[in-house]
């Protein structure tokens, strides 16, 4: 890769994208019926700078896709202004818009016998003339897009014969060949396995850093987004959108208010979702640090919150003490149950046997 000049602090540069009181949604079928517009998000004042990677988070149906589609020029805003590169986007032609932004959608495509190179080359569409003839510069842009997306080795393959992960990289390469200042991606990690998700985020980070692109992606991968994003745009159902550093939002309790639902809750201590709601009991853990980490997970599944030794509140009836140690390298668990009295703790060779024992306590 040819790194461009390192970007200054993002906030110092002029924004690629700025919205002023933007409302997105769907127009009523009849124009006379303006009151019938379906507003999905409104009053958006957002901006996005070169070199910035921003993750758009929010539950299904909150309007993430609608916002992305509006920013890509695929649907008109209901209200407000959209500035691309400082220019009012409503004055841009479709081609001029396409030279500034590219989008990768969730929809899966079938491309007949289009080769990977030919598909990525379609990204040059807004840059080429009437006949679509590609100059050497166009070819270089396609090549760089394929390389940056890690799809150069696939260039001779037929698109329809690729795996989901490979297709995703090719679609990204096509968007990069468009050489957009603003790259929009709708759930680019949705169909991928974990290593591919991490790899996709890594590629996007590098693109933001080294190519100075502004990248906005929607995702459900909260954990990954919190680690990779420079900033988060958090979309609660019905708005308003909150923006900020992932850590600031987490500390302000923003994720909990957006995502908590039924038994699922955002756990500030781990930065992850807890699946089992508010635990009724505690397990005081001690011993080998690694073993304690995994023991805590297994017990959490059974409804135990983990606590250090010495923490208060250990007098409750349901609470247990667990010590995890290695004896000659082999892990072992000792568990003290209050109902067993003050006798010897029970010992277990695996978390499975420990879990089975704890499950038997349940009424």
């Amino acid at each position: 890769m040819n790194p461009v000049e390192p970007t200054l602090s993002p906030a110092a540069a002029a924004p690629i994208l700025r919205t002023e009181n933007l409302s997105v949604g769907y127009r009523a079928a009849r124009s006379a019926d303006r009151g019938g517009d379906r507003r999905v998000l409104s009053g958006l004042d957002l901006d996005l700078h070169p070199g910035e990677l921003v993750c758009l988070l929010g539950p299904n149906g909150a309007g993430k896709s609608t916002l992305l589609r509006t920013l890509a020029g695929l649907q008109a805003p209901l209200e407000g202004r959209l500035l691309l590169d400082g220019r009012d986007a409503s004055t841009l032609s479709a081609e001029a818009w396409a030279r500034r932004t590219a989008i990768v959608l969730t929809e899966r495509i079938e491309a007949g016998n289009l080769s990977v190179f030919a598909l990525a080359a379609l990204g040059r569409h807004p840059h080429t003339g009437w006949s679509g003839r590609m100059s050497e510069a166009d070819r270089t842009a396609v090549r760089r897009g394929l390389e940056d997306a890690g799809a150069w080795d696939l260039r001779h393959r037929v698109f329809d014969e690729l795996s989901d992960g490979e297709k995703q990289r090719v679609m990204l390469a096509r968007a990069l060949a468009q050489e957009p200042a603003l790259l929009l991606l709708d759930e680019p990690t949705a169909f991928l396995d974990l290593p591919r998700r991490v790899e996709t985020m890594r590629i996007l980070r590098v693109l933001a850093r080294e190519r100075g692109r502004a990248i906005l992606l929607s995702t459900h991968d909260l954990d990954l987004a919190l680690r990779a994003a420079d900033r988060i745009w958090l979309v609660p159902p019905g708005g308003p959108v909150r923006t900020g550093l992932p850590e600031d939002l987490a500390l302000a309790g923003a994720f909990g208010s957006v995502f908590d639902q039924g038994d699922v809750a955002f756990d500030l201590a781990t930065g992850q979702f807890r699946i089992h709601g508010h635990p009724l009991r505690t397990a005081a853990l001690s011993g080998d640090a690694v073993l304690v980490f995994w023991t805590a997970r297994a017990l959490e599944r059974l409804g135990y919150a983990s606590a250090g030794i010495g923490d208060t509140g250990m007098e409750g009836r349901g609470n247990v003490r667990v010590t995890a140690t290695r004896r000659n390298g082999i892990p072992e668990w000792e568990c003290r149950l209050p109902e067993a009295g003050d006798g010897h703790p029970e010992s277990f060779p695996s978390l499975e046997t420990l879990s089975a024992r704890l499950r038997r306590r349940d009424p």
Binding site: I109, A111, N113, G123, H125
Partner: protein, 356 residues
């Protein structure tokens, strides 16, 4: 051989294949002039074309009055149907789309039937009207055929915006075609038996009926439709990714939809008006071209379809004449024999059909 940057086919291979197709077309054209119930030596046929008098003056007349218009018609019709088939397959993102399979030809037939009936009501000599004597009736019939095609195209396009399923869309196209066909039958029951005979014969498809007087209208329509198609080559490529991606690439999708609607209706409608509904060419030729050129690039596929469509059309017409005998087959019987296996091949080759 791959291009320097890994594009599918190299320019040399593409140009070579296009030249080979052009050669095939020229050869078939000459054979088409020579072969028939009377065989004219190839040498004489070629000579007569460039103005040398043939050894037998009857040959000159056969050549100029019968075979040359027939071969030209075959070329125009084959090119037009193949191009409209290619456009429709990309437009509907459906490999089985074609002027015949989606009922566009039936729409044209209905248009013709309505025009004929209107002509009869106006007191015109009906069989004469269908034989397209006079520029007025030619434009009338061609115009009604184009309008009929466009009407069915618009119906299918409207449905396609709501229905994602390929199969459903195809069946709906067939149904629109059936309805148009049924309406033609109803119209026929109000006609005299002589008119029905004329209409039925027309329905078999034939390149023999087009005279020099009609050629300008047919050629003009095919040229206009093809010009629109060629103009749309670049956005058609973007459309391979679907409407949403095409729009994100800056394609003016509404204008493109209208242009393709116009192009396919003019091409399919005009050919149907002059030659009757010709089956399978429009559906099969684009697939043969994709297989031959191993590309999805419309800038290559459009000239390829024009050339191969014309060649297959000429070849089918040749075969339908049953050279050396006094008999002739319906053109549609031959095109179906050529085209149906291609369609079956396409169906079998698709590993993962989109419609579960």
């Amino acid at each position: 051989m791959k291009g320097p940057h890994g594009e599918g086919a190299s320019p040399i291979r593409v140009l070579g294949l296009l030249a080979a197709l052009a050669g095939l077309l020229a050869a078939l054209f000459l054979i088409g002039l020579a072969v028939g119930s009377v065989t004219i030596p190839l040498r004489e046929a070629a000579g007569s074309l460039i103005g040398l008098p043939a050894a037998d003056p009857v040959w000159d007349r056969i050549l100029w009055q019968i075979r040359l218009p027939r071969c030209l018609t075959a070329v125009l019709a084959g090119s037009a149907l193949a191009l409209s088939g290619l456009e429709m397959q990309t437009l509907f993102r459906n490999p089985l789309a074609g002027p015949f399979s989606m009922g566009i030809s039936s729409g044209a037939t209905l248009g013709v039937a309505l025009a004929v009936l209107a002509g009869a009501a106006a007191g015109a000599d009906l069989t004469g009207y269908l034989a397209l004597r006079g520029i007025g009736s030619q434009l009338g019939v061609a115009g009604s055929a184009v309008a009929g095609s466009a009407a069915v195209m618009m119906l299918v396009l409207a449905v396609a915006r709501r229905i994602q399923s390929n199969t459903t869309l195809l069946i709906l196209g067939l149904m629109f075609g059936q309805v148009a066909g049924a309406m033609v039958s109803v119209l026929q029951s109000f006609s005299t038996s002589e008119e029905i005979r004329a209409f039925t014969f027309w329905g078999f498809g034939s390149y023999a009926g087009v005279t020099w007087a009609q050629m300008p209208v047919l050629a003009g329509a095919v040229l206009a439709g093809s010009a629109i198609g060629i103009y749309c080559a670049k956005p058609l490529n973007a459309l391979l990714l679907g409407w949403t991606y095409a729009r994100s690439l800056g394609v003016p999708v509404r204008a493109l939809r209208l242009l393709l609607l116009a192009s396919t209706s003019i091409l399919a409608g005009a050919v149907t008006a002059f030659c009757g509904p010709v089956a399978f060419l429009g559906l099969a030729v684009p697939h043969l071209c994709r297989g031959l050129f191993r590309t999805a690039d419309h800038r290559i596929l459009i000239p390829a379809c024009l050339l191969l469509g014309a060649s297959l059309s000429l070849g089918s017409d040749l075969a339908s004449r049953l050279p050396g005998s006094d008999r002739a087959l319906p053109l549609n019987a031959v095109t179906a024999l050529v085209g149906a296996p291609v369609v079956i091949w396409v169906l079998l080759r698709r590993r993962a059909p989109r419609d579960e």
